[in-house]
Subunit: 202 residues, 2 copies
DNA sequence: TAGTATAATGAACACCGTTTAGCGATGACG
DNA sequence: CGTCATCGCTAAACGGTGTTCATTATACTA
């Protein structure tokens, strides 16, 4: 068996572990290395041949959660000739929708105290899309800059982060407190998104 | 020793346990019943004479976190003759400030999957204050109802929940992601609050 | 004083994350 | 073919966890 072959099977079992780990985590009730090992049908120690620790494994899962969420959010395509403000609005709706469609991934990605993995690029890429849309609005003078004396880049960041905060607020609350007597999830989401956006348009 | 006396000392040790638990939790690194027992200088089993389980103990801590946060938020007093919109705005700023001043309590209260204790009254009381302020704005026609066809109570709830979502968004992100390159915490908070509020005033 | 309720505990159980010594198979080389 | 190194893997152990339970010590009551 050549070294390349060995590497391939190594990668495969690593992938299998991650697959099982994802299943186990999404299943909800607890997540232990021993349970994971049982599911993969190997000894607990074997897992440590592929991951330094449980945290590292969870970080990899976190990375993948980011990827899934990013993919969902990126599915919101800008339409040709669409109003730039409307692009921002639809982007935010897409964010919330994606988060609610993948609540466990959202929890893993954004509601955890785990040290973020270095490769937190996907969400940053997603964040860059938001910035892009916001910048368009500022350029087209559809948004009034909240801090006119600051540069356009600073205002872009500020607005993007504020928008993100708002949508993260609804998303996380709806995920974490499903029992709360929300008057209407849809109306609430719309209200938050519109609130964040409308206050910007001049 | 009378029954009342026995009850009193029982309550005292219960309080002492909770005090130590709070310290231990806020200290940050881990929280185990055995560590707690060591700090209280009793056996781990003794803790179970006062709390059915670790979860129940944490729920009690959660209740107290709610109380602390509520107290902080309630410290925002409405000034006489103050503009009702300004009351809402200051109330929201107070919420964020309180949350950031007590990040661990905030985590315990709002960023946990623990089953909420039944007596989740404090935050509801706090929430009632928000509703009150919002209702005033609607009554005074300073806010335009987002869903005019719905009743005023429904609109009050909707707005209050939307406002809460927005401030919770900033608060939780600032607590959970202190490493993120926020452009400016103050500006961000102001932006989110103003965004949520300004879009409502007619 | 005998009996009883109560507080507290030590020891155990079943689990957890992680490390390590060792085993068997496989391939390389003389 | 025989030897030896390498690699994948595991059983067993270590120290930790939440929780239970039989047992003891203590203090009140009859």
């Amino acid at each position: 068996m050549t070294a390349a072959q060995r590497q391939r099977v190594r990668d495969e079992t690593r992938a299998a572990i991650l697959h099982a780990a994802r299943q186990l985590f999404l299943q909800g009730d607890g997540f232990s290395m021993r349970q994971l090992a049982a599911r993969v049908e190997c000894s607990p120690a074997a897992l440590y041949l592929h991951f330094k620790s449980k945290d590292e494994l969870l970080q990899e899962l976190m990375r993948r959660s980011f990827a899934i969420l990013f993919e969902g959010a990126a599915a919101v395509q800008d339409r040709a000739g669409e109003d730039p403000v409307e692009r921002v609005r639809r982007g935010m709706h897409g964010y919330v929708r994606t988060g609610l469609a993948h609540p466990d991934e959202y929890r893993l990605a954004f509601l955890t105290t785990l040290p973020e993995p270095d490769g937190t690029r996907p969400p940053n890429a997603a964040f860059e899309r938001v910035r892009e849309r916001v910048r368009r609005c500022l350029d087209a003078q559809r948004f009034s800059p909240p801090r006119p004396q600051a540069g356009i880049e600073a205002n872009t960041s500020l607005i993007a982060q504020a928008l993100w905060s708002a949508v993260h607020g609804v998303t996380s609350l709806l995920i974490l407190r499903p029992g709360f007597p929300w008057v209407s999830r849809e109306a609430l989401i719309a209200r938050v998104v519109d609130g964040a956006v409308d206050s910007l348009v001049r």
